[in-house]
Amino acid sequence: MPKDLPRTLALSLTALFLLYPLWGLASPVGHWQWDASGLSSALATSFGLTGVALAIVVAVGTPLAFSLRGATRSTRIAFEAVVLLSVLMPPLALGLLLALAFGPATALGGLLLHLGIPTSNNPTAFVVTQIYASLGYYLLGAQAAFEAVPRELEQSAALLGLAPREVLWRITLPLARLGLAAALSLAWVRALGEFGAIMVTAYYPHGIPVQLWVDLQDQGLPAVLPLLIVFLLTALPLPWALRLLVGTRGYA
């Protein structure tokens, strides 16, 4: 028996299992309907606003995850509990809580409304909801990536005369890059595919998941399947390319 046969079998079976639902695309649901304007608008909303949300998540989450390494154990445990809470929250529940907490009846919601920032059904609400949905995933992944970088290497770099900022740039980040890329991929997928929470807080403008729902309600499966294919084809390249770009020689 070839040495890698069990692995090949296991990988093939898992891939088959994961890909099997796509067989549904071949179902006889009738003539597919393409709504080009709805499709492009949903794509622009989803990718544009998810990009903004992810930029904020990375900008806030990366230094935060790094700083957690220096925190006391009790601080870390308490903070991780908060992060896990946000990750474990069912999306619909998250949407409902966000709608209630940022509603016009609350002090914060009232203030934002007073400042001309509506807290539902607009791009800001869309982005904020995506941040709530994905920040926890990014933080947990980034924290693990930083933890996996051996402190001894950072000490060696400092002993060779590098200031902390240079150590971060030349040692910590390159060694954590694979883990950070995985965290970013996860956050991207989570934010882009968010439906339950967005449905409550930002039904408008329609992103792809909401557009899928609307099309299903209005026109049925013939309108949903082509949109789904476009969604999958456009959402996959970023996390996939990210993994390829950072290579496989990472340490986290």
Binding site: L153, Q155, A158, L160, L162, A163, P174, Y251
Partner: protein
């Protein structure tokens, strides 16, 4: 010139040692757990002494504790890790910026040649043997010409000919560049070939100081006698 007094409390005893060394090679010798590595760690800046002082070439490193990246120190630890994501060439020149690399071209070429790194220059650390990795670590430590070089069991795990060769190279460079070299080991044969002067330590204290010949003629304690493999 290194002028220091390091005091550091350990679980079972207090380390308290004075060292005054010009551009010379000094061995810290003693049984495991006698505080030798603690002293190196404090000098490098990885640990902060409880009291005392550290001055190197009229620059005060403690107190207050100078950040380790501001100390001109090369610290080769027992299992000094190489940067796994960088090739040997980048590991060796890690501490030098682009301009300094150009200025130090001859010095880098000498390091590369004497430590026999030519064939390894573009290799990645995971592909190196223990002895090769040790040579690269030594090259990296010395590349920026530190004023103080600290070696913690520098030749542990290496075969005797390679250890002797590295000791000979280190001696040559120290005499030419004039840095202070402090080496720690519990194997007298390793240290004797490298450092003419020795400070013997036990339980955090200096118990004897002098040449190796003096130490062998009149070891101050039974433990030293045993470590030197002398008849009782």
């Amino acid at each position: 010139m290194l002028d220091c007094r390091v005091q550091k409390t350990r679980r079972t005893y207090e380390v308290a040692v004075d060292i005054l060394a010009g551009g010379e090679r000094v061995a810290l010798f003693g049984p495991s757990g006698s505080g030798k590595s603690t002293i190196l760690s404090c000098l490098a800046g990885l640990e902060v002494p409880d009291a005392g002082h550290i001055r190197c070439d009229h620059e005060t490193w403690f107190p207050p504790s100078l950040a380790l990246h501001h100390r001109s120190v090369g610290y080769l630890r027992q299992r000094e890790p190489l940067f796994p994501h960088l090739p040997v060439s980048e590991n060796v020149q890690f501490s030098l910026d682009a301009a300094t690399r150009v200025q130090e071209r001859d010095w880098i070429a000498e390091i590369r040649s004497r430590l026999d790194l030519d064939a390894l220059w573009h290799a990645r650390p995971p592909h190196l043997s223990g002895g090769q990795a040790r040579r690269v670590a030594l090259a990296r430590t010395l590349c920026r010409r530190p004023r103080l070089v600290l070696l913690d069991e520098p030749f542990a795990g290496l075969d005797r000919p390679l250890a002797r060769e590295l000791a000979r190279i280190l001696k040559d460079w120290q005499e030419r560049l004039g840095f202070v070299l402090l080496a720690v080991d519990h194997d007298p044969l390793v240290l004797e070939g490298l450092c003419p002067r020795v400070i013997a330590m036990e339980e955090g204290r200096r118990v004897q100081e002098g040449s190796w010949a003096e130490l062998r003629q009149r070891p101050a304690t039974p433990t030293l006698r045993a470590l030197l493999d002398l008849d009782p």
